[in-house]
């Protein structure tokens, strides 16, 4: 009696694998983060450790460059910053071994030359660069801890704060105007605002599984890629009665994983499982999508 359902489950599983995975048709490119260089391309980081430079306009996009770096484990997040006049990409990766977890942050030039690295005995889930203080913030994906790096010095990673009530911190975004760092808990879906001076952390919203945060260019809303509901939502930073709004409908992506504004009104959304990056206008209408493999 038991064998038949098991056999049918296995058969349907194999069928599902066969149809859902055109596995070896193209090199793996699962985007996990996107950042925009001012007056330059959008950089897209893949889980496998490749950075793609994509020129994006309102009607088309083109991959114009790429570099790869060896990743044992996976790459999780990327931030753009200018340190001492040098444009940099900061990339957070995590590897595991029998001796435990090792998170690494690498600093690269935008053409892929490695400038430095820092390590942490935690999963690195998010990186965000604060231009004003020249500080790179690093969030721990397996604890409530937030760390910082001073890229211009050779100092090790510094502990900054515990975010109470969280267990798995994720992506971050920096609001220069309000001197505030926005961060999220991937497990519980909560979005927090951490005011830098005086330091105060408050919960400002909740989604299901936040994968990426980015601030709108006018600093009025924070956009959240929610891989649980497979959509992008916006969270108003004003005093709106309805602060949380759908930017795209639920289930409009496979796994939204990276957000970057390409200009004042157009948002690029990277989709990890779809291996693509799409551009949306201010109303949430999709303009086009670029396959990344």
């Amino acid at each position: 009696m038991m064998r038949k359902p098991i056999a049918s489950a296995l058969a349907s599983f194999v069928l599902a694998l066969g149809t859902a995975m055109p596995a070896h048709a193209a090199p793996q490119a699962h985007p996990v983060a996107a950042v925009k260089q001012p007056n330059g391309p959008v950089f897209v980081l893949t889980l496998e450790g490749t950075v793609l430079a994509v020129n994006m306009s309102l009607d088309r996009a083109q991959i114009v460059g790429r570099f790869s770096f060896p990743v044992t484990g996976y790459a999780a997040d990327m931030a753009y910053g200018v340190v001492n006049g040098q444009q940099m990409l900061f990339i957070g990766t995590t590897s595991s071994s029998a001796s435990g977890v090792l998170g690494s942050v690498f600093a690269f030039t935008t053409d892929g030359r490695r400038l430095g690295s820092w390590t942490l005995r935690h999963v690195i889930a998010g990186v965000a660069f604060d231009n004003a203080s020249q500080t790179l913030y690093v969030s721990s994906g397996d604890s409530p801890e937030l760390y910082s790096i001073a890229p211009q010095s050779k100092a090790p990673i510094q502990f900054v704060a515990n975010v109470p009530g969280t267990t798995h911190l994720g992506s971050m975004a920096i609001d220069d105007q309000r001197q505030t760092l926005y961060l999220c808990d991937v497990d519980q879906g909560a979005i927090f605002a951490m005011q830098k001076q005086p330091r105060r952390i408050t919960a400002i919203g909740r989604v299901t599984t936040p994968q990426a945060l980015t601030l709108s260019p006018d600093n009025t809303a924070i956009f959240i890629a929610d891989s649980g509901r497979k959509q992008v939502v916006s969270l108003s930073l004003g005093t709106s009665k309805m602060p949380m709004r759908n930017f795209t409908p639920p289930y409009s992506f496979k796994t939204p994983s990276g957000l970057a504004y390409i200009d004042a009104t157009h948002l690029a959304v990277a989709d990890q499982l779809d291996s693509s990056i799409s551009v949306f206008d201010a109303t949430g209408k999709k303009l086009y999508s670029l396959p990344l493999h």
Partner: protein, 398 residues
């Protein structure tokens, strides 16, 4: 795979249209569903599994809220086999991804069986693996509604190790261990690696190779025969090398082991399908440098002649001619005997860290020189070395 919902009555069609519209009226609607009421959720639980004795995968189920069935009707869902027909559930394995914290997540859709084709409750299933194991597929117990609802071990799920697959490739050197690398010319050889993957295929990255002797190779390149590996599969790694003759001779004179001169370390990045972690598989290949036959012959002939001449000039027991012939015979016999001993792979002749391997050019020369020179040469060395040491001692004493 589940069928599209049949719109058999106008009421159903209206309900379905309403649900579709509700899901698509993007910016106009507020995102109140983003904080789903957990108390209304159907309980979902998955038993932990143990891919091997040292590892465990535990699961978490996060309620994402209800969605209309129409939103997922096109998906390839894997039915969860239920003992209790009250509920129906489908797994969307094509949604398997990694979140920012590195966990593997996918979506499970659940509802009462009679309501499933109207709307479903979505759950994000998270895998938390600990310990090392090869990425695999194993059956998992999923409980929906009650602890007696699941058919035991009926739901196969892909399980990924946090380390990546530690033993995805196996190398069993057959006849060529150690692998011979001829000196003085470019050389290509290949080895075959067997797939040790467990249920899940993998993609292979660009392989690299290094050797642990100092600059003994001018070039060392490796190329794999394929970029994707399946179960019970094989992949060939083709090495192209260009030895640096003198460095290779030096490496052969001071080998890493009695049986091989150096080790090439092949590194193959392996990433299991369905979003596994990249893991570098390290394969050591033991190598032995072999000079060309003409080189060995030259070493033997020169060593024999030098040895025989030394014996002829220094020897006093026999006539010059006899000493010369004795030198030749001793040198050749000694070299052949050493060759015979080396052939079984269990013998090594070492003097002051120097390996007298009769298959190497310089060691063969030295071996024949000493054997051919015989006692007169040993006496000469003894006198000169001991003499100089005694002279030093007397000088120090004075």
């Amino acid at each position: 795979m589940m069928d599209n919902p049949p719109f058999r009555s106008p009421i159903r069609a209206i309900v379905a249209a309403f649900l579709i519209a509700a899901s698509c009226c993007a910016p106009a609607c507020t995102a109140q569903f983003a904080t789903p009421n957990d108390s209304s959720a159907i309980p979902v639980r998955l038993d932990p599994v143990h891919p091997n004795s040292n590892s465990t995968v535990t699961f978490s189920a996060k309620y994402l809220g209800p969605i209309p069935y129409a939103s997922i009707s096109g998906k390839e869902l894997q039915d969860v086999q239920m003992l209790d027909p009250t509920y129906r559930a489908g797994l969307d394995l094509s949604s398997l991804a990694r979140d920012k914290t590195g966990r593997f997540i996918f979506t499970l859709y659940v509802n009462r069986a009679n309501l499933f084709q109207k709307s479903v409750d979505a759950y994000e299933i998270g895998e938390d693996p600990t310990g090392g194991f090869n990425d695999t597929i194993q059956p998992v117990n999923i409980y929906i509604g009650s602890d007696r609802s699941a058919l035991p071990n009926s739901t196969p799920l892909p399980l990924h190790s946090p380390y990546g697959s530690p033993t995805a490739l196996a190398y069993k050197p057959a006849n060529a261990d150690p692998q011979s690398l001829p000196m003085g010319k470019d050389f290509t050889f290949h080895i075959t690696l067997d797939s040790a993957l467990d249920q899940l295929g993998a993609s292979l990255g660009d392989a690299t190779a290094t050797i642990n002797c100092d600059r003994c190779l001018q070039t060392l390149q490796v190329k794999l025969s394929k970029t994707a590996l399946s179960l019970n599969d094989q992949v060939d790694a083709t090495f192209t090398i260009s030895p640096s003759t003198f460095k290779a001779m030096a490496a052969a004179a001071q080998p890493e082991s009695d049986k091989y001169d150096a080790t090439i370390t092949l590194v193959v990045p392996v990433t299991a399908d369905k979003g596994g972690s990249r893991r570098d598989q390290t394969v050591p290949i033991r190598v032995k440098f072999t000079p060309p036959l003409t080189g060995i012959a030259l070493g033997v002939i020169l060593g024999t002649l030098f040895g025989a001449f030394i014996r002829m000039y220094l020897g006093t027991t026999h006539t010059n001619k006899q000493e010369f012939y004795l030198g030749l015979i001793y040198a050749i016999v000694c070299w052949l005997f050493a060759l015979l001993l080396f052939a079984n792979g269990k013998t090594a002749i070492k003097l002051l860290g120097f390996n007298f391997d009769p298959t190497q050019m310089f060691p063969a020369f030295m071996l024949c020189l000493f054997a051919g020179g015989g006692p007169p040469l040993v006496q000469l060395l003894k006198n000169s070395v001991l003499g100089s040491m005694l002279g030093e001692k007397q000088k120090n004493d004075a």
